[in-house]
Subunit: 379 residues, 4 copies
């Protein structure tokens, strides 16, 4: 099967979100990055393309050129889908022109900077019937998918309570310093829009609530905290939410939850059971029932649903992060090959392999000889 031709807007240089999308697109051998505009500066753009191995012929000056040029190419060569990884205010103009020209889009969240813009994009998308994904990344965890699937299958019965928390503490050292808090873009309404905490992480919690239950929130009541008079954007808030049918919920989000790193936690309670899940421990899903012992669901096991299995690449007990562990070993080898400074132990060496073989042989021998001590001195 041919690979999907992917274009990328943004994500150049040291951008973490760029790394994340590139690795992700590569993970199942389904995409090929064929072009993009990685950087507003054209030279840096070209430089970066070389660095990540993208043909510079399809690296463009700006997103308008990318669209204008790609549209001229025959369908079977043209970029099929474009990932939009630029600062938030650019999502709208980029996505709009892409949709107008029939491109499929993978767009970072938040979709736009206002609801009006978002609706405009949706109208366009419906008209052109393109594929449009917004990367609420947390919905990609196998255990989140398992929850959604099982809830839709009725495993929890009727849902009666939805409780989602998204607590971070990163703004704490900033907000309490009267000078420092004036300098952070997140707290500047001109750059961050009408909200800091809810706009950045509250939306993740909200999307998770609707995603998992498959139901729409009908109304909300909120209470936000800005902490200081010279700060206008929310840093913390609680939102009461109501779905239909006496289903209530609560969303709590904070950037001043001191010491919290990225604590997105989910609890969904239904008449027949409940699920609890924490993003910082994403391979553990807790299934609660009346009068039964809590079960700890983990990916890679035969008992998980097909939708979760499809998102898991390794057997049970291998956390997804093992890919990163192997990635670090490859990085260590790369440094050695390029004679860069490397840390001691960045990759296991021949010696580790040799010692391992000696270990196996001696262990078997000790056992055979009646459990005696044997030397492990190697040649």
């Amino acid at each position: 099967m041919s690979k999907i031709r992917l274009g990328i807007l943004g994500g150049g240089g040291d951008s973490l979100i760029g790394v994340l999308h590139r690795v992700a697109s590569n993970m199942y051998d389904r995409y090929e990055i064929v072009g993009g505009v990685f950087n507003p500066d054209y030279n840096q753009n070209i430089e970066f393309a070389k660095q990540i191995g993208v043909n510079t012929n399809r690296v463009y000056q700006d997103f308008e050129s990318l669209i204008d040029e790609e549209i001229k190419k025959p369908l079977e060569e043209r970029i099929e889908v474009v990932s939009v990884l630029t600062p938030n205010f650019l999502h709208f103009p980029m996505a709009k022109k892409l949709l107008e020209n029939g491109f499929n889009v993978i767009c970072e969240k938040p979709l736009t900077t206002s609801y009006e813009e978002a609706i405009e994009l949706e109208t366009l998308q419906k008209k052109n019937n393109t594929i449009f994904a917004v990367t609420y990344t947390y919905t990609g965890y196998p255990m989140v998918r398992h929850m959604k699937h099982m809830i839709s299958e009725g495993e929890l019965g009727e849902i009666h309570k939805v409780d989602i928390q998204y607590y971070q503490g990163w703004i704490n050292p900033v907000i309490h310093d009267p000078e420092l808090r004036k300098t952070v873009w997140r707290l500047d309404p001109k750059k961050a829009g009408i909200s800091s905490c809810i706009g950045d992480i509250g939306t993740h919690a909200f999307q998770m609530a609707e995603y998992l239950t498959g139901k729409e929130v009908k109304s909300i009541l909120s209470d936000l905290n800005t902490l200081y008079k010279d700060n206008t954007l929310d840093l913390d808030g609680t939102v009461l939410v109501r779905f239909k049918d006496n289903l209530k919920g609560v969303i709590r989000a904070s950037q001043i939850a001191t010491g919290e790193e990225n604590n997105l936690s989910v609890a969904i309670y239904g008449g027949k059971g409940a699920y609890k899940w924490e993003q910082e421990n994403p391979n553990f899903l807790y299934h609660l029932k009346d009068d039964e012992a809590m079960r700890v669901i983990k990916p890679g096991n035969t008992y998980v649903s097909e939708v979760a299995a499809d998102g898991t690449k390794l057997p049970g007990g291998h956390p997804e992060g093992i890919f990163d562990a192997m990635g670090n070993i490859y990085k260590g080898v790369a440094k050695a090959l390029r004679k860069e400074t490397s840390f001691k132990g960045e990759f296991p060496t021949m010696r580790d392999g040799v010692r391992g073989m000696l270990f196996i042989e001696k262990v078997v021998e000790s056992n055979q000889k009646g459990n005696i001590w044997l030397s492990m001195e190697s040649k």
Copy 2:
């Protein structure tokens, strides 16, 4: 900087180890897969190369051809490093010829099928001074590297006790069935060599012991269990180990630890402190001290060592598995683009983005108006 030219032996088709190495090699944009022998069958080999986007000109019939042809190319084009992902018994002949011809090698563990072979490889490598990595993957976790680094810096003081466990339960349903246990290659000495449990996972535990302490085990005493008389290979074992200077340790490994998935757990106790770590929860490292509260070390924080930071791509609280979460979203989009059957909710849609924007606006409005209920009905 130019990418490193990587060749791969094995890992074709549905091979999990193949996926793992390809994703890992891609993770920091440092490698390009330029050739290989992915499959013993040449047609499947070519087919697979196309599938993963490798130029078929450098896909060879067998590893001998790969070496013979690549060696003819000028150094600046030649494959620089070869990953060996084939069945264990092929590691030795492949690595040997690669080393004889000056190639750098990344080899899956176990290095060979005997200590003699391993020593032969090491002699060759020392002579040719090539880079040779054995992929004991677990050493790549940021928290494992942090442990190693801090131990070498003396943070734990003199080490007095090393306790490593590697428990799995996968062989349990096999071993208790008299017919089934005759059919598993892992239990066939002709295919698996002299050991099952120690050879497969005990070596990981052993390597971790030497890796973390920076010390060599001087002698061992083992006690193994084969459970049934018609089974000759070990399924479970305890190995007493002695390093120098009254430093003792114990390695426990099992394939009959029913219900355990991949429970590699490490505890290193020294005069000034201790570290504990579990592979299934790889982002949490426990640092114990006399008369002080235990600390929970996590990657992505300013307080971790440089060597750990170098192996972490995202801020604190984002488990490494988040790459996989994003990978799953990309996979979902790929299915949609190729009109394959997909699960409900495989990627967040435009609607999620629209609802998110509405949520932010309504939350801010409710708060401004004195915490009143507002409708979330969207256009």
Copy 3:
């Protein structure tokens, strides 16, 4: 020092709350139960007194008699403090008469059935200057006291966010059965008062919020859920709370959180740090800070505050529940002494002691002889 003369109202028969108060009063050898009214039925009352070893001379017909008779005794013989363990509606009349007569009181929560009654008691107590405790039991945990103390010492800096959850699921199987839900006293406004969930457990969460912060809640906004139209009392609710100075909080309580047992969880975030604690794991207190590893505080260690140390009887690592473990062994012996049916293994026997001694001797011998196998056959 003489023991405190304690009287008890209620708590007879199989009452769990009775067991709890008796064991608690005994724990530090400070109280002696000298009288009471354990049961409304006088004969059962007397019977129960005998059973728990209380002199029947001071077992009374009703609480009025207890007060009238005890008041006649000289001060150095008189009951000093009375524990009120009766159904909620009796707390008020009992406490009132006790206060009017100068008795000190330990009263189960809720204090009364209305705020008006509570204020009346408080007025009386202030006038007579007696000691009056309301047993919000969770404030007695050493780690809760440590939190309170350290917060008052300023360890967390200015508090900015208070988040308390009290989730239970016990009413779930009841509430969804249209017949069953009519029969539970908890859901009958005549018996349970104006609230089910908030009245029973929400108050614990609220008290904890004020207890830990040392601050009063200034205003609240609530949203409750009764789930069914024929049910009038709340089963679940969220309460927004405001303290002074931009300190906001949220209290969440539920009886329909399916599968939750008694999940009281606390999070207090301040400018310099945070505390998190869960009642079902009461020996573990989590201390978070910006840019430092989370610390896990446990009782019995030298680093905990004096107030926590004072509430801990054993060295670190011995959970408070170990008293119950020992209590169960004593119970097993009692059954054996009284020739009651007992479970296998209800107490360790002589044989366990003998085997233990053999184990020690053989272990030392094996080590001395160079780590050889020795038989554990005992005489």
Copy 4:
């Protein structure tokens, strides 16, 4: 039913073990402490008896007098069972004389100071057919009893692997100080006998192994560590154990596991499932099975076995330690009654009760009025 007449040898003054046994004996209202020898010094002995409310008529000079005098009393008055809480070397002479005179005994562990003594006691006990308990306290936890029961019922199938760890770190700061280590009685063979670590805690691990499996260890092989040449007693050790039928196990014990408090951890693997349990988290029992999600068993639930239920006094979610929490509140009240210095917040006051009632009323009112803010100012 009459209470059992209990005598106690030792446990006076500040003895922790004394507190533990007294509270435990009181927990189910089955025992009455009627006499004893709490202290070698007679005056202190009498003083202590008064303090804990024991009639001084039956407080004796020494254990011989206790036995000689009690034996003269009629059976229905005589002490029925004696708890031996004295230093280890006194266990033997005391238990011996008690057994010779037909007393039942509850004896602290270790039973004696040698296997020979232990066997002598057992012979006596068999002859006189008395009840004799050795307080291996950890067997009293409800979840330990559940394990034992379910294993004996065959829930785990045939047991194949037993792994018990008992790690402490308390001796770490002592052992590394050349002067200090000479002063600790635990390391003096004259006082501590032939073993430190194995004798003190390894025996607990061993007893747990035989207790849970219901099988006897047939042979052992040990490896101990004394760390320093001038120290002769073991501080750390690993013991390989063999039961019958290819059932092997490993016991690990340490006093130099820096930072560990009292980490007794159990893992029992069988053909059909496994149990894991940790003493520092005694209310959580982990049940593992092939291809099923791990279950977390907790006391107080309907699904636990009768033997566990019998050892649990409160509903699910109330950790056993809640008795201690209530005990601390009673202690706080006692201090107030005796005008001793107390900590702020040692017991919840009338004010807490009043505020609680206000909270309930305001919460219900806010909800009824459409979720509006209400003041919490109290009278």
